[in-house]
């Protein structure tokens, strides 16, 4: 069975949303017959991630958490992968980083170091939440507008779709939500600019090829 490694920290409100929304991916992975290593909450550390990748040589790595141009973090914001230090840990794997900014430098470095592909965001990933819904993020419909298209990448990769197809499906899902808001009389239409931002800054990096946001 193919192997997948997740990092899913959960130590403040933003990572809590990512943690809850990514929970269904773990079930999805098991359903699709992946061998799953789920580094959840305080397990999302550089030591455990390095050990898990070394032991399982995963085909797929799904990262969730804070990031900047050159690194992505795990539990309590501690760095797990840093460009120029350990980006080669992603070698031979397909990676999706549901995080801010990391596609810009870390993703590029990883692909140069032999990663099969790296899908992520080259600027901040922005989403909305509803005050009072912090204890039930999965029921937050405002957050769903952002989470569902972003997680389409993971769902497609877990369904064994190629990275470019996963990227295209996510782009289409963002576009669908944008169109739905524009064509309605919803008071939520202000969300469009932020959905468009996320869509436009999502990229799919493959060696000698970069697939940027597409006008679907």
């Amino acid at each position: 069975m193919p192997k997948v490694v997740f990092t899913r920290p959960d130590y403040e409100i933003v990572t809590h949303y990512l943690f809850v929304w990514s929970q269904k991916l773990v079930s999805e992975a098991k359903k699709n017959k992946w061998t799953v290593t789920d580094l959840r909450k305080s397990q999302a550390t550089i030591a455990k991630f390095t050990a898990a990748v070394g032991k399982t040589s995963p085909a797929l790595i799904l990262l969730h958490g804070h990031g900047n141009y050159s690194s992505i973090s795990g539990h309590n914001g501690k760095v797990i992968i840093q460009a120029g230090q350990n980006e080669n840990i992603l070698k031979n794997a397909v990676t999706y980083a549901f995080s801010c900014q990391t596609a810009k430098e870390l993703g590029t470095a990883a692909v140069e170091a032999g990663a099969k592909s790296y899908i992520g965001y080259n600027e901040d990933f922005i989403f909305f939440q509803t005050e009072g819904m912090e204890k039930s993020p999965a029921s937050d419909k405002r957050a769903a507008k952002f989470m569902e298209p972003a997680l389409e990448v993971s769902t497609s990769l877990l369904a064994k779709k190629p990275p470019k197809e996963a990227f295209r499906k996510s782009q289409k899902a963002f576009r669908k939500n944008i169109d739905s808001l524009i064509s309605s009389n919803s008071k939520e239409v202000y969300l469009v600019r932020y959905l468009l931002w996320d869509k436009n800054h999502q990229v799919c990096l493959i060696k000698n090829s970069k697939t940027a946001a597409i006008d679907t």
Binding site: E12, I13, V14, Y17, L18, G65, H66, G67, N68, S99, C100, Q101, D124, F125, I126, F127, F128, Q129, T130, E131, G132, R142, I178, I182, K187, E188, Y190, V192, R193, Y194, L196, W197, N200, D215
Partner: protein
């Protein structure tokens, strides 16, 4: 009126129409309600500049007709 001041006023006007319970979350920077964001925009903090950048990119997209393609 200077262009930068016009842009800041435009961004603030856009933020004013948000529902009271909406909070923007930036992975890495935290969550902000509209009052907090308006303060950030007025003070020109990193978060405020990010909101202005997003609005400008959106306006450029409108001009290019991307949203009606």
């Amino acid at each position: 009126m200077k262009t930068s001041l016009k842009i800041i006023r435009l961004v603030i006007a856009r933020l004013e129409v948000w529902p009271e319970d909406a909070k923007l979350a930036i992975v890495g920077l935290g969550t902000f309600n509209k009052k907090e964001l308006i303060t950030h925009v007025k003070k020109g903090t990193d978060v405020g500049r990010k909101i202005v950048e997003i609005e400008l990119e959106y306006l450029k997209s409108l001009k290019k007709g991307i949203l009606y393609a």
